[in-house]
């Protein structure tokens, strides 16, 4: 699929997000994590790249999400792995808010 073929898809209403926290959302077969972060709304794949636990059950401080299983750490703004044992960055999805809905570009 070329970038031109991608389209914005509604994911979840902003009002339904856990305020200041991570919210798990399913889009088709994809498990996504929506972060209501200090710097805005960010969306990533929900599974930790190290142990495959669902990051939405981890500790979120507004910028960094910590895996609930092994405490690997990711920056939700760019998906970068910030502390071991996580090494592989999170896959992020382009996200925006339109008319009160979080949308992702897929």
């Amino acid at each position: 699929m070329s970038p031109r073929d991608r389209t914005w898809v509604d994911l979840i209403a902003v009002a339904d997000l856990e305020p200041g926290d991570a919210t798990p959302v399913t889009l088709g077969t994809r498990e996504l994590a929506v972060f209501d972060a200090k710097d805005g709304i960010f969306v990533s794949m929900a599974r930790c790249t190290h142990g495959a636990a669902n990051l939405c059950d981890g500790h979120f401080d507004g910028t960094f999400i910590e895996c609930p299983l092994h405490q690997g750490l990711f920056d939700v703004r760019d998906g970068s792995a910030r502390a071991a044992p996580a090494r592989v960055p999170l896959r992020m999805l382009d996200a925006r808010v339109e008319n009160g809905m979080v949308q992702v570009l897929i």
Binding site: H50, G51, H59, F60, H70, L73, A83
Partner: protein, 321 residues
């Protein structure tokens, strides 16, 4: 990438044991509770050090050193909390205290961290949980484990192996090529540190590290081994957190010493919940985890009952059908 896993806390939330908002409130990090507890430990160590000093020329130095040792070995509990980055608010402070405790009790921090990751992933599963303590085959092997001789033998050989850069198959089960150099460097630093301490002590004619630190550590370790036995030993070797881990209800002084790690099943359910919130998590998970109401003593009675045949062994094969 690893296969998707359902962590115990995910399972607990899906089954309605607690909500995400309740979990988030429990996961809040703070320096204050840990700093208060560290100060308490410092005070207690000052008292027991004073007892050793007062008993210097007497046989009473041995019970005094034992008391000091009981405190020193419980630095493991702080190190364990630091491994999970839950003792303090910042990762840096957890790393600092985790390493300090590691040097005090001869347990490399990063090595323990990586090993402990697999312990949480594969709790009580034979051949996969690197921290699994097998249910002893007899009362004698139970006492032999508590003596700490097997523990120290394993610990020293592990540090020597890591320092020489020769990892074995078990090490490789929880260390990738990225992590192996970290723990090899860590072991070398640790060996160098103890060598320097030894050289300085000999050069200066100091014996106090022996009487205030090393001998108490060895005298106290059986207490920690006995506590570690209560966490999983005698529970089934199954992939079910409701069954494979034991919470023991203990006195407040004991809770202080062990940093609330008696709430062990709750800790395994949500390792991101700091020690100071475990009593609250215990209330939330009441009826959801296995609890030994008689405390550590009750856990040992349970284990011993299995060893002498009064109770079926937890590791006995289940009858077919």
């Amino acid at each position: 990438m690893a296969q998707d896993v359902r962590t115990p806390i995910t399972q607990a939330m899906q089954e309605g044991a607690l909500t995400r908002r309740e979990l988030k409130a429990l996961m809040v990090r703070s320096d204050r509770p840990a700093l208060i507890r560290v100060a308490g430990f410092g005070l207690a160590l000052a008292v027991t050090s004073g007892l050793i000093w007062l008993a210097w020329e007497s046989w009473l130095i041995w019970p005094a050193m034992f008391l000091q040792g009981v405190l020193i070995v419980h630095l493991f509990s702080l190190q364990h909390e630091c491994v999970h980055y839950t003792a303090f608010k910042t990762r840096r402070l957890n790393d600092v205290f985790g390493n300090l405790c590691g040097y005090a009790i001869i347990l490399p921090f990063q090595q323990f961290r990586y090993e402990h990751c697999n312990h949480h992933t594969y709790t009580q599963l034979k051949g996969r949980d690197p921290e699994l303590i097998e249910l002893p085959i007899s009362v004698w092997t139970y006492l032999w484990y508590i003596s700490s001789v097997p523990y120290w033998r394993n610990k020293f050989s592990q540090i020597a192996r890591n320092a020489s850069g020769r990892l074995n198959d078990e090490d490789r089960s929880f260390l990738s090529r990225h992590e192996a150099p970290v723990i090899i460097r860590e072991a070398r630093l640790m060996v160098a540190f103890y060598a320097v301490v030894l050289l300085v002590a000999v050069a200066m004619g100091w014996t106090w590290p022996l009487w205030f630190w090393i001998l108490p550590l060895f005298l106290g370790e059986p207490v920690m081994r006995a506590i570690r036995l209560t966490e999983h030993v005698g529970r089934p070797n199954v992939d079910d957190m409701k069954e494979n881990t034991r919470t023991s209800l203990v006195t407040r002084p004991m809770q202080f010493l062990c940093w609330n790690m008696n709430y062990h099943a709750e800790h395994h359910y949500a390792a991101s919940v700091p020690f100071h919130a475990l009593p609250a998590l215990h209330e939330k998970l009441r009826g959801y985890v296995y609890v030994e109401k008689r405390g550590y003593l009750g856990a040992h009675l349970d284990i011993l009952a299995q060893l002498v045949g009064r109770k079926p062994r937890s590791d006995a094969p289940k009858p077919a059908g």
